[in-house]
């Protein structure tokens, strides 16, 4: 850059611009960090989750759930009589290097007893490598890719959110009922999207569904018009949107502006409250599965939970993400108290088959960690998005509550072969 010959009249060169463009890519991957709290001799739970970037909103909601759980645990006597402290680090939304470095910092310097994270499946897998190397009990609140509790499962890594196969199994019958049997997939091009589409193809095949077409879209796609042009030309019954977060908002918003909802059933599998809130009312449509929903009028303890979160967030309802954070943090306390120890192996053994009590589970059936896989098996909430409900944030109508056991498949199908430390 100091080479005078290559510089233009304005003091920068074409090469500088190209390097700059490359650096702009890096800009999307990095993020600042958050200051963490410290105290004396409490039991420490380290949360290494996105607070900046694409997943800032969902990561923030998981954090709210974790905070509420810590308050409740401390009010009820803590873990083994000791107070609980939550240490928070920003993993960024997409930089595995940062997530791993923060996980190491939490484990080595802060000596956390439990590690929580990550929203991003790839970051969750990277963190699981660190936690299992260090033998620290690790709970993944909201990273969905099957491998976490599948082929690369570890004795110390537990997961609260569903596997993509569970979501696919739960929603497939409703998609056939509401839309039809010819499906066109719009799938995000990364681990989560691939496994979710494979899961739906699996589940659909048993129901006589044919795949009309499928397009892989790069993560962070802003313009979906060219995919939509292609999808409508194939004349499917259902256009299945498997993209998430802001990609979901972009895709649905554009599809509805094109009037495609009048010609096809626009739907998908995993849907969350965060994107529905970000959508204009006319685009809150389609058949989906929620992993947890706040409006469960007849289920005990849910109302109290919703009120407590509303107080924390200035009136906003909890989302599935809030519940992931809440259930994950509570699982640490429940596991340690059941094991009567802070030894990770003893806790992990105590958590095999452990049920979450109703005030933590917050759903009709008691969710439990399946032994030999460490995967939580909860209810799944199938229904459709709605423009308006009983509350400004009541944007989903649950029509069927699916039992987790019915969606989870067998332990052999997950591919998890767990080995325990000798």
């Amino acid at each position: 850059m100091s080479d005078g010959n290559s510089q233009g009249k304005n003091g920068f060169s074409r090469r500088t611009v190209i390097k700059a463009a490359a650096a702009a890519g890096a800009l999307q991957l990095t993020g600042p960090f958050i200051i963490s709290a410290r105290g004396e001799e409490p039991v420490k739970i380290g949360l290494d989750n996105p607070l900046t970037g694409t997943y800032a909103a969902v990561g923030g909601n998981e954090l709210h759930g974790c905070e509420l759980a810590v308050e409740q645990i401390n009010a009820k006597g803590g873990i083994l009589g000791r107070p609980v402290q939550l240490l928070v680090e920003d993993s960024t939304s997409g930089d595995a290097g940062t997530a791993v470095q923060k996980a190491r910092k939490l484990i080595e310097r802060d000596k956390v007893n439990f590690l929580l994270g990550n929203v991003n499946s790839a970051l969750a897998l990277a963190m699981a490598d660190v936690s299992s190397e260090k033998g620290v009990l690790h709970i993944v609140p909201g990273g969905h890719t099957d491998a976490v509790t599948g082929k690369t499962c570890h004795w110390n890594v537990f997961r609260v959110c569903n596997t993509t196969q569970m979501e696919a199994n739960a929603v497939a019958p409703a998609l056939v009922r509401d839309g039809g049997k010819k499906w066109y997939y719009i799938t995000p091009d990364y681990a989560f999207g691939h496994t979710l589409q494979a899961g739906l193809e699996n589940a659909g095949a048993k129901l006589g569904v044919t795949k009309i077409g499928a397009d892989l879209t790069p993560l962070g796609t802003t313009d979906f018009s060219s995919y939509l042009i292609k999808a409508q030309a194939a004349k499917p019954d259902v256009i299945i949107f498997l993209v998430q977060g802001n990609d979901m908002i972009n895709a649905l918003k554009q599809a509805v502006q094109f009037g495609l909802e009048k010609r096809f059933h626009l739907a998908g599998a995993q849907q969350e409250l965060e994107p529905l809130i970000g959508l204009p009312p006319e685009a809150r449509i389609g058949t989906w599965v929620f992993e947890w929903y706040w409006n469960q009028p007849n289920v005990p303890h849910v109302k109290e939970f919703v009120e407590a979160i509303r107080k924390k967030t200035g009136g906003h309802v909890p989302t599935a993400r809030t519940w992931f954070g809440f259930a994950s943090t509570w699982s640490c306390a429940l596991g340690a108290n059941a094991a009567k120890s802070l030894d990770a192996v003893k806790i992990a053994k105590a958590m095999q088959g452990m049920k979450l009590p109703p005030e933590v589970g917050l759903m009709p059936d008691q969710p439990f960690y399946r032994a030999g896989q460490n995967q939580l098996i909860p209810n799944l909430f199938v229904g459709h998005a709605q423009a308006k409900g009983s509350d400004p944030e009541d944007l989903f109508k649950v029509t069927t509550v699916v039992k987790g056991e019915d969606a989870a498949g067998t332990l052999e199908e997950t591919g998890c072969k767990m080995t325990w430390p000798a």
Partner: protein, 289 residues
Amino acid sequence: MTQLILFNTFNGLIVGAFYALMALGLSLILNLSGVINFAHGGFLALGAYIAYTLLPHVGFWGALAIAPFLTAIIGLIVERLLIRPLYGRDPLYSLLLTFGLAYVLEDGSRYIWGAQSVPFPIPEALTTPLSNEFFFLTGYRLFMVGLVAVAVGGLFYILNRTRLGMRIRAGTMDLETVSTLGVNVQILRNLNFGLGIYLAGLAGVLAAGMLGLEPTIGTSLIMPSFVAIIVGGLGSLPGTLLGGLLIGVASGVTTVFFPSATEAVMYIMMGLVLLIRPRGLLGEEGRLQ
């Protein structure tokens, strides 16, 4: 198949027009001041959020008219306070500054408006497609293309017909001479920066109507703009416009054959252009190479 390609070519032109709008602002600032404005995406988000805040009070049209101006005013202040002291230094300084500014704008937006994306309604009159067959030609998208055309026309009018524009062009060629002829270069750069940020703000309001509005909305849009500038040729505004349209069409047509490469194709194009014609398609020889 022919229809698919045709549709996607048309559609690519629409998308490309939007890329061009953002790239033109970047290009303006780059040409005159030699600043690679990384914070352009941040200003785009700011424009969109200002429009979102104004929306309940002045409606969509009012927000569309006012928000880009307010964004430009913030741009003028930022240029005066932060960027001006760095002129004449190694371009790395201003590059690092705008790199940091991009974070400040993103996190600032998150602090004020929250990480949760917010709905940005557009007038009903613009939401309907023209016909069932040409469903992708919605009122909003046609309006957007029209507005881009007006903005580009206006920009070229300013640059070619007004005193300010001629000075900007002259300054782009040779700032020192322009300065010795008595033109206040500081004010020239300031107004030019504001003009660039105005285009970012306008792009932001338009983007919010089609995309989810959240603090990172500009981040994913800034890369195609950089590519548009490099493909079109540094220093050439018509080149930037052409570059934007070209990458729009290229990624649209790629969807038909190889959907997962729609993003990659832009960079492949950039690589090819750099190999065959290093100054870009319309870049002037000997300048900015």
